[in-house]
């Protein structure tokens, strides 16, 4: 059944063809929010790329700019207050930031699509879910009502909604959280996009459902050779699914690595802190490590390394000079002055005790 869907879909794919499997290149993206209180630099030169069938996880805490990155790539940034002030986002080699709104809209949906965090609020409450999925086919493919609805039922079956044929007429609020997220995913993949951005797709769900949704995303990705950008703050979610990880902090990518390398040996103190803060079953009775302090105010990003006020290894150089994203190994980059040491598993000298961090939060 999925193969018939695929064939139909492939028959109508557009003129966009990736070069050497390279789908999306984000190059030096900069976004700022102009508010009454001042200008908040939410994204400060983010670069990454995405290939066919690849999963890139963008990891970071709240306010690190991961969702804004996704919105900027999708072109759905609320403007004002948000403005893309620099950089390029190339899809199949063409800069989509430079396109007309009209042309850009033809990319959203059929080429690059998105799944949102809270599926209840991402579905229109006044229309049955089947109607909403069918709308995708009617709008973009010009299908008639009954064909589009039949297609919607098939898609709902594909995302494993039990009794899809009956539930096609149900409204979003009649579904559970996990089912809603499946419907959202069905809508997002309806037009067989080449790139799917999932913005914290499992955050609003409970753990067992999280695993099912991640598995579904993984299956769909493998089946359709989609490039998947997975935005999350949950290291546990990432480990199984992602191929590569970009860790963001204060609007910058601070570490970029293949997933196994990153887990084996983080090359940035922030990543190290994140990994250490995962509770582990084999370390009972110990105090759980946490990263003290708060992420910086984006209107006043500290000079030097933005992480220096919270870093255990911060030295004078960290407060004065901002580290570039150094190449520290195969497919590996890190924005830390001590990345070379970290990546080799050596610990730079501690400059403060962990419990003495400014504004540190004790667990």
């Amino acid at each position: 059944m999925s193969s018939t869907l695929n064939n139909e879909v492939l028959g109508s794919t557009s003129s966009w063809q990736p070069h050497d499997g390279l789908l999306l290149e984000v190059d030096g993206l900069e976004v700022e929010f102009r508010t009454r209180e001042g200008v908040a630099k939410a994204i400060n030169g983010v670069s990454f790329d995405l290939r066919e069938g690849e999963t890139l996880a963008i990891l970071g805490e709240s306010g690190s700019g991961k969702s804004v990155t996704a919105q900027a790539v999708m072109g759905i940034l609320d403007s004002p207050p948000g403005f893309v002030t620099g950089g390029e986002v190339r899809y199949c080699g063409e800069d989509i930031l430079a396109m007309s709104d009209e042309r850009r809209r033809t990319i959203r949906g059929p080429e690059i699509s998105m799944v949102f965090q809270d599926a209840l609020s991402s579905l229109n409450p006044v229309f049955p879910v089947g109607w909403q999925i069918a709308e995708m086919f009617r709008q973009h493919r010009g299908m008639n009502k009954s064909n589009a609805l039949a297609e919607a039922v098939r898609l709902m079956e594909r995302v494993q909604i039990p009794g899809a044929a009956q539930r096609v007429k149900a409204y979003p609020h009649q579904f559970s959280g996990g089912m809603r997220q499946r419907i959202m995913i069905a809508m997002a993949i309806a037009l067989d996009p080449a790139v799917l951005i999932a913005d914290e797709p499992t955050t609003a769900l409970d753990v067992t459902v999280q695993a099912q949704i991640m598995q579904l995303l993984e299956e769909l990705q493998a089946e359709r050779r989609m490039g998947l950008i997975l935005i999350t703050h949950d290291l546990g979610v990432v480990a199984d699914v992602a191929d590569r990880i970009a860790v963001m902090y204060a609007g910058r990518i601070v570490e970029y690595a293949d997933v196994f390398d990153l887990y084996a040996q983080p090359a940035h103190p922030y990543t190290k802190g994140l990994l250490e803060s995962i509770p582990r079953l084999d370390r009972k009775g110990e105090t759980l490590a946490s990263i003290g302090g708060l992420p910086p105010n984006l209107m006043q990003i500290p000079p030097g390394c933005p992480f220096n006020p919270r870093c255990n290894y911060a030295q004078d150089i960290c407060r004065e000079q901002r580290p570039e994203l150094y190449e520290v190994g195969h497919h590996r980059r890190s924005a830390c002055h001590f990345a070379d040491q970290l990546v080799r598993g050596q610990e730079p000298p501690l400059t403060r005790r962990r419990d003495q961090l400014e504004g540190g939060v004790r667990p």
Partner: protein, 315 residues
């Protein structure tokens, strides 16, 4: 599965056997669902029947009475209801029943068209202001404020006094003037409501999601913003409809809305409320007032029923 079972699911427990095409054949949309819901609502039927009766009354008053509403016999002036004249006679010896039946036309025309006028203009401006924001919003909102500042009746008096009608003015022109006056003063009410609903709906994730999935601005407004912000406007409009009918009656009562020889409930009430008349001949006031109240009530009930039907969460 943790989700609540819907009636459909329970009945379709035999379930997956139902072919997918059956579901696909029925075109389900917001409006067809709302209709399915309305059909089960007794209030809808009561109000719909009442409105239908009043509409027929407005269109074909001859169906309800064979008496000429313009025929007056002073000998019968202020006579109480009898088998001959069910509602009695008014001060000029007109048959009150015939006058009341014929009066429906003016009230319904003014009410319906003033409401449509405000609904269309108000929604359009409200959506434009709410969706686009910025300077267009500021401009439209201030424009609305100017009209909003003028009280409905005072403004109506002012406008109709500036453009008076006399005996020669055709009936429809007189009605048109009243409609325009009420509409001109009434639209900011709807525009404000629409604007605030749009502002409430616009930041919702599903609007974002629609953009992310490639919907055009027109599509977003029509499929996502309008259906989600329409409910409040429809309810208020139906209530306003009653208010406009009452305002028409008031303006006629004051002698500047519809003018005799036009027949309207407002005029009838105006005539019937002269000093001493209420006690001497209460039937002159009672019957047009009952019809007026029933019409207003019917539209408000319809508004409520439609509101409930349009909101799937109340289902």
């Amino acid at each position: 599965m943790t989700e609540p079972l819907t009636a459909q699911e329970v009945s379709g427990a035999a379930g997956a056997l139902v072919p997918a095409t059956r579901a696909a054949d029925e075109g389900r949309s917001l409006w067809s669902d709302a209709w399915a819901d309305l059909r089960r609502n007794p209030f809808f039927w009561v109000s719909a029947v009442l409105i239908a009766v009043f509409l027929v009354m407005a269109a074909f008053p001859q169906l309800f009475t064979s008496t000429d509403p313009y025929f007056a016999d002073l000998a019968h002036a202020r006579e109480k209801p009898s088998a001959e004249a069910w509602f009695g006679y008014d001060g000029q010896g007109h048959d009150v029943y015939a006058r009341t039946i014929y009066g429906a036309r003016s009230s319904i025309l003014v009410g319906v068209f003033a409401t449509l006028f405000t609904l269309v203009i108000g929604s359009l401006f409200g959506i434009l202001a709410g969706y686009s924001g910025g300077s267009l919003d500021a401009l439209l909102s201030r424009l609305g404020d100017i009209f909003f500042a003028i009280p409905l009746l005072l403004g109506g008096i002012l406008i109709l006094y500036t453009f008076p009608s006399d005996l020669e003015t055709p009936y429809l022109v007189v009605v048109g003037k009243v409609v325009l006056a009420l509409g001109l003063l009434g639209w900011p009410n709807i525009a404000r409501l629409m604007r605030s609903s749009v502002l409430q709906v616009k930041p919702n994730d599903y609007v974002q999601a629609a953009r992310a999935l490639g919907a055009s601005p027109g599509r977003i407004i029509l499929s996502h913003i309008l259906p989600n912000s329409l409910a409040a406007v429809i309810v208020v409009s139906t209530i306003n409809l009653g208010a406009y009918i009452a305002a028409e009656a008031t303006l006629s009562y004051l002698g500047i809305g519809l003018q005799p020889p036009a027949i309207s409930w407002g005029l009838a009430i105006s005539e019937a409320s002269g000093i001493g008349l209420i006690r001497a001949a209460p039937h002159m006031l009672l019957f047009p007032s009952i019809f007026l109240s029933l019409t207003v009530l019917a539209f408000i009930m319809l508004g409520d029923a439609v509101r409930d039907a349009l909101d799937p969460k109340l289902r």
